[in-house]
Symmetry: C2
Subunit: 477 residues, 2 copies
């Protein structure tokens, strides 16, 4: 719907690159006339569908999908004290229906604990009902007063996947937290997006939770983006909403709960981690189009080339690949530009010389060429897509590692944090946290880091010199 005009800014200027790629690759239109609300173009939406199908596939193994209402009556929303404190400045309120003022104002869900848990109080009866694992994918709302940014900081989060589980014991819920982290790790592995998993400091946990684990990735500008959270809710909400079960002895017990969410920030990460100066780079599993065939037409052998491209398309479609032949009457170079911008993992060029040689020329999105024998094209394409995905994962992981440094002094940390995440030792005290955050000019991202490559041995706190443990510091989105 938009003409390509001009070029994409270099990714070195990440903010300009990000804003530009969203419309050049037809992900989102930012011109909707309300701050913080954006429109998904069809191409962007096709990526969204694949990303969320990937998430559903992982969840559906042992979760069930359901759907709860958007509107939450004020009296339910206001029940959990910590929770409301965390959200009251960000909630949109519906106050009128037609010309009438409503008796009870209705909140647009910022998250659905207070919509779901009154129903859980009705649904959970006995230990045989546990564990209960339900998720929904919905739009949620935050009245953001800060600077908004498509896919990252929104007033309508269009694609919030939130899971809510119920367990008999605190320990069962704790195991579910770990299972959810594992699921999120596998999800981001399919997106080839490397992640850092850590435990948020107490002042940064979900309002009402016992503790919060978070999944972050590092953006090209070195800032971290939170792309998933998992909360152990203890029995706070079950006590508020009266969610109890009859145990094996016939006694009523309060349940323990977890909830965990992923939003369209997953797509912001997908775009930002992999994209380059020529546009999107998409993993083959997530790309709406996996292979584009560009016929190289010379007048004399036009029909022959077009026929060969059509046959090739049919053969690859028959293998279950998402393929398209670009027959537009424009230069091949313009086609390359167009499909590179949209992240198509593999381009196949087929011209008279290829026909004569019994080959096709395949070029992956990194620009690596290979001649594939026409006889072996299905296997050759499958191999190239598989190795391209592995390459993407490797490139992203290497790049993330380059953005992680260790520091053993505040001055070191302040310098290193400009370029990424800094691993330090911290004693765990609030005073030192304040001192670190102020002097390093960044946030304590988390502790209890889940990474085989991070040092886990104790050291001395970079602020006070007492014994401390690993903590990550970063500038955050």
């Amino acid at each position: 719907m938009e003409e390509d005009a001009g070029t994409l800014p270099s990714k070195k200027d990440f903010s300009a690159w990000y804003n530009d790629i969203l419309w050049r690759a037809e992900i989102m239109d930012v011109r909707y006339p309300v701050k913080g609300l954006y429109v998904w173009y069809p191409f962007g939406f096709a990526i969204r569908k694949r990303v969320y199908q990937t998430l559903r596939d992982l969840l559906d193994v042992d979760h069930e999908e359901a759907l709860f209402p958007l509107l939450i009556p004020e009296h339910e929303f206001m029940k959990e004290a910590e929770h409301i404190k965390g959200f009251e400045n960000e909630v949109y309120w519906v106050t009128h229906g037609g010309r009438n003022e409503l008796d009870v104002p209705l909140a647009l869900r910022p998250t659905s604990e207070t919509a779901i848990y009154p129903m859980y109080a009705l649904w959970v009866r006995s230990h045989a009902d546990l564990p209960l694992k339900i998720y929904q994918i919905v739009n949620t709302f935050r009245y953001e007063t800060r600077h908004t940014r498509p896919l990252i900081r929104l007033r309508e989060i269009t694609s919030f996947k939130e899971a809510h589980t119920v367990h008999a014991t605190w320990e069962d819920a704790e195991r579910q937290v770990e299972a959810a982290l594992d699921l999120y790790r596998r999800f981001y592995d399919r997106l080839c997006v490397p992640v850092l998993i850590s435990r948020r400091p107490d002042w940064d946990k979900f309002p009402g939770a016992d503790y919060t684990m978070a999944v972050d990735t590092i953006m090209p500008d070195g800032k971290t983006l939170q792309i998933g959270t998992v909360h152990h809710l203890g029995d706070q909400f079950s006590k508020t909403f009266g969610i109890t079960y009859e145990d094996v002895n016939g006694e009523q017990q309060y349940v323990y709960q977890t909830c965990y969410g992923i939003s369209e920030r997953s797509i912001a990460a997908l775009i930002s981690v992999h994209g380059d100066d020529r546009g999107l780079v998409l993993p083959p599993d997530l790309a709406p189009l996996q292979v584009v065939i560009v016929p190289i037409i010379v007048a004399r052998r036009r029909d022959e080339v077009i026929r060969a491209a059509g046959d090739l398309e049919e053969e690859l479609l028959g293998c279950g690949l998402r393929v398209k032949t670009d027959l537009r009457e424009i230069r091949p170079g313009a086609k390359y530009y167009h499909w590179e911008m949209r992240g198509v993992p593999l381009r196949i060029e087929i011209g008279p010389r290829d026909l004569d040689g019994g080959v096709v020329t395949a070029v992956n999105r990194y620009g690596e060429h290979a001649a594939i024998s026409r006889d072996q094209v299905a296997a050759g394409v499958a191999d190239m897509l598989a190795s391209f995905r592995d390459q993407m994962r490797e490139v992203a992981e290497t790049r993330m590692k380059e953005h992680i440094r260790t520091a053993d002094s505040l001055a070191d940390a302040a310098e290193s944090v400009k370029d990424g995440v800094v691993a330090v030792c911290w004693c765990g005290s609030a005073e030192c946290a304040d001192a670190i955050e102020e002097q390093v000019d960044a946030s304590i991202l988390g502790t209890d880091v889940r990474s085989s490559e991070m040092m886990t041995s104790a050291g001395t706190c970079i602020s006070c010199g007492r014994t401390g443990a690993l903590a990550l510091i970063s500038r955050t989105y």
Copy 2:
């Protein structure tokens, strides 16, 4: 999550049956604490997913899916005079964000013309951009003051599929109206739900449209349920929102538009048209579970039977069927009851006698038994499912025809309309419409009826005796 207790009311008492089946078959929970908002249970949501995937499959042939924001600023919403008159009493307004009053009140979309068309004004540039065919599946809101009913009359319509197309000429848009009707016909054919297609009288058309075509079905109580509408919008909205294109001569022209929608009423129809006194009856393509295997266990040969059931399940799963073996420690009869309630099209019983005879016993949801040779089980099951779907379609069509009568007097019509739809002749005047609607105590559903079986020849108006044409009258939901 709920225990079956008591029995389903007879479908003869349709209203009681409908309310009851929703929770007994785990479709919806109506206990959410706001009028007109309901919760989709996982099983109901699984049906919803299949129904909407069917719709997507049909649309994706030549439409693209996108997503536009829920919140519409007051100034956009108020632009089209007819449109706002039609909706102003039904719109929910967001007036506050946190504790602040918003500068511009935001409407929760009751439908998305005023959210989408400002973007179309930016997107459509030239004749080469036309036709544009986009759809979205979203939640929409109506402040209903009438009696609400799950899936039928809601305050949050959770599953509104709305398509919005743009064309160069009025005639192109008219052709799209017919294409959309054809698509809806095919959609309901897959649901085995028979439909009546007609043109709504002028006073009943979509606010702002040139004309409205509607898709209705007849519910078990003889009332019609509108389950799809297709609107020719003319150039009303394009003039309001400034949607123009450059034609081949370089002149700016206003576009012509259509929009058409289907909501979760499609699922209300699916449930109501097919269900019976024992529960849901689902077409095999739409059923979350297509085949349930119930092992008939006698102690002596327990392991053998369970192993045979497992082997059978594996074989049928391998054929791409949705199958489950019910191994719960309850009586077979209780299992039959459970799965009949949930509309599973085919039950397979496998016990010692079946093993000895080299057969399995298959029972379709209408209760018809067949012995299938174990060697031929995959083909036998596929055949039974296919013929069950055909039977469902036939049963539903026969039943609908029984609910359609013709009448050539007001008294006749008043009597017949108690049991369904009445076909009459009407001169087309507003006075006669008023007279008919008052004396028959029902509504004029539509004219220009698209059915091969309806009389199309002219006759005399049942009210004034002048020349008239076919019109349908019914009591409506």
